[in-house]
């Protein structure tokens, strides 16, 4: 099980890395986030101390983040920018956590037992469960083990997909990355985990 989990995650990470390495790094992120990594690219030849009288239409949020940095020390700017980042990311985290909490309270686990006799359906069901309940990777092995009647491949798929794709991450990927990258981050691991789990399930019985 451990070897299977490691293998699947390594394959997914390698494929994603290869795919993303073929893309120029700047367009990976949505426009407003580019500034966070490369603030000096905002206004060529101009820096914060000179102020931002006209917001750059290419990077509106970047200018917003820097609009109150005039006359403030670097340390103050770091603090205010950190607070802004915390609220920005926290917003998506909270919305994702609400969705997960809703699922945890209202999703009957007995539903999964309907699929226990089919490898294809049980793998799909456990992957869906992993995405919906967003279990921490420290505890997911115990959660998977509690589904004693499901095939090992289904439990493996639950363990492999959970840390890569879940409701909170989907919301955050969509907020930070460009649409095509976010879709790749969601769908590539999902498809690979499904196929590899099925293959391992068939080969190892």
């Amino acid at each position: 099980m451990v070897l299977g989990r490691v293998s699947i995650v390594v394959v997914c990470a390698s494929c994603l890395g290869l795919l993303i390495s073929c893309i120029n790094p700047v367009p990976l992120l949505r426009d407003e986030d580019v500034s966070l990594l490369q603030p000096d690219r905002l206004h060529p030849g101009q820096n914060c101390r000179e102020g931002y009288p006209q917001p750059d239409s290419r990077f509106p949020a970047a200018c917003a983040a820097h609009s109150n940095c005039e006359n403030h020390s670097r340390l103050i700017r770091v603090f205010t920018h950190t607070a802004s980042e915390f609220l920005d990311m926290g917003k998506y985290l909270i919305m994702g956590a609400f969705a997960v909490a809703f699922t945890k309270v209202f999703l009957p686990h007995e539903v999964l037992l309907l699929f226990q006799n089919s490898l294809f359906l049980s793998v799909s069901a456990m992957m869906l469960l992993a995405v919906l309940v967003s279990v921490c990777s420290e505890a997911d092995a115990f959660v998977a083990a509690s589904f004693v009647t499901l095939p090992a491949a289904a439990k493996l798929s639950f363990l492999a997909i959970g840390p890569m794709v879940d409701l909170k991450l989907i919301v955050m990927y969509s907020a930070v990355f460009r649409k095509r990258i976010a879709l790749a981050l969601i769908f590539l691991p999902t498809v690979l985990v499904y196929l590899l789990s099925i293959i391992l399930g068939v080969v190892l019985g």
């Binding site: 603090f79 205010t80 279990v135 921490c136 115990f142």
Partner: protein
């Protein structure tokens, strides 16, 4: 007017960060932290609280001139939910680790004090002597009709590895003919040895009401020599999991 509203919203953003930091700090210092997270993460929450209080205070004094209304709404809702959480402030720490001896002698037999999660993980290891050893464990009785028919009941306790949302009730089936005498939900201390189980779980997905997920050992059960009724512990969860004596119990 629009500028004033923006400035007020910028201050509110800073205050939200500060309030969340203060809440986390209070939770770590005086609150029931264990109701949310495993106490092993207290240092991390404490450090985050300090950072949030500092950056929140600065962001309140030097407010963001372009605040986001959507994140203010989401965070105000979140702060409102935190207030529903009914933070209980206590000046005395409520988690007491068991500092007594790691073994008990009862009726001439020596029992190792161990919690149900530790014993479960022990049974997953290939160790030759675990069957002859006497253990004492504490947990909650969970009964079902199918288990009653087999002369068994389940003894479970909630293990919190990370946060409460990820908790799993772990335990064993206890091979005990008098399970009718025990009430569902009753807390007991069981003095027992491990027995290899020949029958699978009668309820394959035994899930006890009120617990998120239940994990019962399929390979081993407990054969009790003594069952003692106890009060429900003030903190009923298991947070600490050791692989050798002295166990967390």
């Amino acid at each position: 007017m629009a500028e004033i509203i923006k400035k007020i919203c910028g201050v509110i953003e800073g205050l939200i960060v500060t309030v969340i930091g203060l809440y986390m700090g209070l939770l770590v210092l005086f609150g029931d932290y264990w109701r949310f997270l495993n106490p092993k993460f207290k240092w991390l929450t404490g450090a985050t609280a300090v950072i949030l209080i500092v950056i929140g205070s600065v962001a309140t004094i030097v407010p963001n001139k372009r605040p986001s209304y959507s994140r203010i709404i989401v965070f105000l809702l979140f702060v409102r939910i935190l207030s529903v959480g009914n933070l209980e402030i206590s000046l005395t720490p409520r988690i007491h680790s068991d500092t007594g001896a790691s073994r008990l002698t009862v009726d001439g037999a020596e029992y190792i004090k161990i919690n149900l999660a530790e014993l479960y993980m022990l049974t997953e290891k290939k160790e030759p002597n675990k069957m002859d050893t006497h253990y004492v464990v504490r947990g909650m009785v969970k009964r079902s009709r199918a288990l009653d028919d087999l002369g068994q009941f389940a003894l479970v306790r909630n293990a919190v590895f990370c946060c409460l949302a990820d908790s799993v009730a772990m335990g064993f089936r206890v091979l005990y003919d008098g399970s009718e005498e025990l009430a569902d939900g009753q807390w007991v201390e069981v003095y027992a040895t491990l027995s290899a189980l020949t029958q699978g779980l009668p309820d394959p997905e035994f899930q006890s009401e009120g617990l998120h997920l239940t994990l019962l050992s399929e390979s081993y059960g407990l054969t009790p020599s003594k069952i003692v009724s106890i009060e429900e512990p003030e903190i009923p969860f298991m947070f600490d999991f050791k692989e050798q004596e002295p166990y967390a119990y």
